[in-house]
């Protein structure tokens, strides 16, 4: 656990407090440590509690164990010492790469998660059709193999594949880092619409401070060797009221902390170089 003085470092309060319901905990992760190999400690002790509907970002320099932490939370890796409590059965992960199955057509790829959920063919068809429309796919696209789609389309397909399962918990591991700025914004907008309509809880990893501050209710800053959370920032301004300027101000405030600036190698960050 990190020190109380560094917790709940509230940078700014919005006009209205959060619009999302925050009653119980949907995810509670208690980690003493995690090692892939006995000699190398990847993650140090940390605790993460998430309320339903909350969006939490993990930021930090590469190699600080963000992805590992998300995978532990998602249940893809079991921690070497610690426990994860999830109060829901439905969860989905969006990975850095799209991870579509190259031998399945787009439709079957999007229905992949529904197979596990034991839905009937008709139900699968209905859900995939709705998602395909929402993500802007035509009927002809659904018959294509992933190799015939552009990078952005593949990512949208991956979003659709995750969202058709109607997850309560969504884990994002820098899913859009390979896309250009405009595309990325488009993807986030598409994703946020889905998230808002379903009120799902999101834990996401990014290495972009600006992105984290503009999209999340809470930002956890991680440091490497071993990976640990060193600062927590809560942003109370509702998502739809946030502006680019606000996010820039928040970023400036965060980086004014020498320790954080050092961590991101952003000392004297006002200068371009």
């Amino acid at each position: 656990m990190f020190k109380p003085s560094q917790r709940d470092n509230e940078i700014r309060s919005g006009t209205s407090s959060s619009q999302r319901p925050r009653k119980k905990t949907i995810l509670h992760l208690r980690l003493k440590e995690h090692r892939y190999l006995p000699i190398e400690q990847v993650l140090d002790a940390c605790e993460l509690k998430m309320a339903p509907g909350e969006i939490v970002s993990l930021i930090g320099p590469s190699g600080c164990g963000k992805t590992t932490l998300v995978k532990i939370a998602a249940g893809l890796i079991s921690p070497s010492d610690g426990s994860v409590e999830r109060n829901t059965d439905s969860g989905a992960v969006l990975f850095q790469d799209h991870r579509l199955l190259p031998w399945k057509r787009l439709y079957d790829n999007m229905a992949f998660g529904l197979k596990a959920a034991k839905l009937t063919r008709q139900e699968q068809f209905e859900r995939v059709s709705v998602a395909a429309k929402a993500m802007g796919f035509s009927q002809a696209d659904l018959k294509k193999f992933p190799a015939e789609l552009s990078g952005g389309m593949k990512q949208r397909a991956a979003i659709a594949r995750a969202m058709v399962t109607e997850p309560d918990l969504l884990f994002l591991d820098e899913p859009f880092s390979a896309l250009d700025v405009g595309r990325r914004r488009e993807m986030y907008r598409a994703l946020l619409t889905e998230i808002e309509s379903r009120a799902c809880t999101v834990l996401m990893v990014t290495h972009d401070i600006f992105e984290a501050l503009s999209l999340s209710d809470r930002v956890l800053v991680m440091a490497p060797d071993p990976g640990r959370v060193i600062k927590e920032v809560t942003i109370k301004m509702p998502l739809h009221l946030r502006t680019r300027q606000l996010a820039h101000e928040l970023e400036a405030e965060l980086l004014s902390d020498d320790m954080i600036a050092d961590l991101f190698r952003m000392k004297n960050w006002e200068k371009v170089l």
């Binding site: 893809l76 991870r99 199955l101 399945k104 992949f112 998660g113 197979k115």
Partner: protein, 258 residues
């Protein structure tokens, strides 16, 4: 429906390429015949007539059936055993490390050595089937094991994230990757099973195409020799066109051709 019809006609149409290449081979054969005389290369037309008589009048068809049966039996047994063992070895680190030198050893063993050993063990009857089995097994085993080892762990992780059952993960995520590794090895070992079965028959058996070749050799009958060769190669071409290629396009259709 119409799409499937078009695809079928398209695949038949590509048969013209094969046919033209075959005609070219016959043309060169004809030149060879005219240059070196019938003792070295018999006349193509006469050979084809002999194929006809072999199949319609004498034991030819029977021999071809016997040989196909032996090749297929050995090959299919090797496929079953090889795939099961390969899957087991692929999922175990220890087994896959241990089996690698074993595969190299078995692949290094020339088929002719196996034939001699099989002759000592089984006498004439089981030799062709055993030899096919033992020579194709390591290829199929190695192909399966490699397919399991080289599969994309990221896709496994993706499947796990949807909490899919082990059986469904195997069918939808892992098996297609294994098959795409296995298929080339499988096709190679099928072609090999024909060569091996004929060698074994030539040395060890009283019937089958190999025995027919042995007979032709004793009689210094070049026409009959070439007729057997034409029959077997023709059969392989038909098999490739009507079985192997459709399966290949089904299994590897998603891969992009350069």
């Amino acid at each position: 429906m119409i799409r499937h019809l078009f695809a079928f006609v398209g695949s038949l149409w590509s048969g013209w390429t094969t046919l033209s290449v075959i005609c070219l081979v016959f043309a060169f054969w004809q030149i060879g015949f005219e240059t070196f005389g019938p003792l070295v290369l018999p006349e193509p037309l006469e050979t084809i007539k002999t194929v006809g008589t072999l199949i319609s009048e004498s034991h030819g068809l029977n021999y071809i059936l016997i040989t196909s049966e032996r090749a297929l039996l050995g090959f299919l047994t090797a496929s079953c055993v090889g795939i099961i063992l390969g899957l087991m070895a692929g999922w175990s680190n220890t087994l896959s490390v241990l089996s690698r030198p074993l595969v190299t050893m078995m692949q290094g063993m020339p088929p002719i050595a196996w034939i001699v050993i099989a002759l000592l063990w089984f006498g004439g009857e089981g030799t062709p089937i055993f030899t096919v089995f033992v020579t194709t097994l390591p290829l199929i085993f190695a192909g399966t094991m490699q397919g399991v080892r080289m599969r994309d762990g990221n896709l496994d992780e993706m499947a796990d994230s949807f909490r899919i059952s082990r059986a469904e993960k195997f069918i939808h995520v892992q098996a297609p990757q294994i098959v795409s590794y296995l298929f080339p090895a499988w096709a190679t070992s099928f072609a090999m099973s024909w060569k091996v079965v004929m060698t074994a028959e030539l040395l060890a058996s009283g019937d089958g195409v190999g025995a027919g070749l042995a007979e032709a050799r004793v009689n210094i009958d070049t026409v009959a020799t070439m007729a057997w060769i034409v029959a077997v190669v023709g059969l392989l071409l038909l098999f490739e066109g009507f079985v192997l290629n459709p399966v290949k396009s089904h299994v590897e259709g998603w891969k992009n051709d350069v």
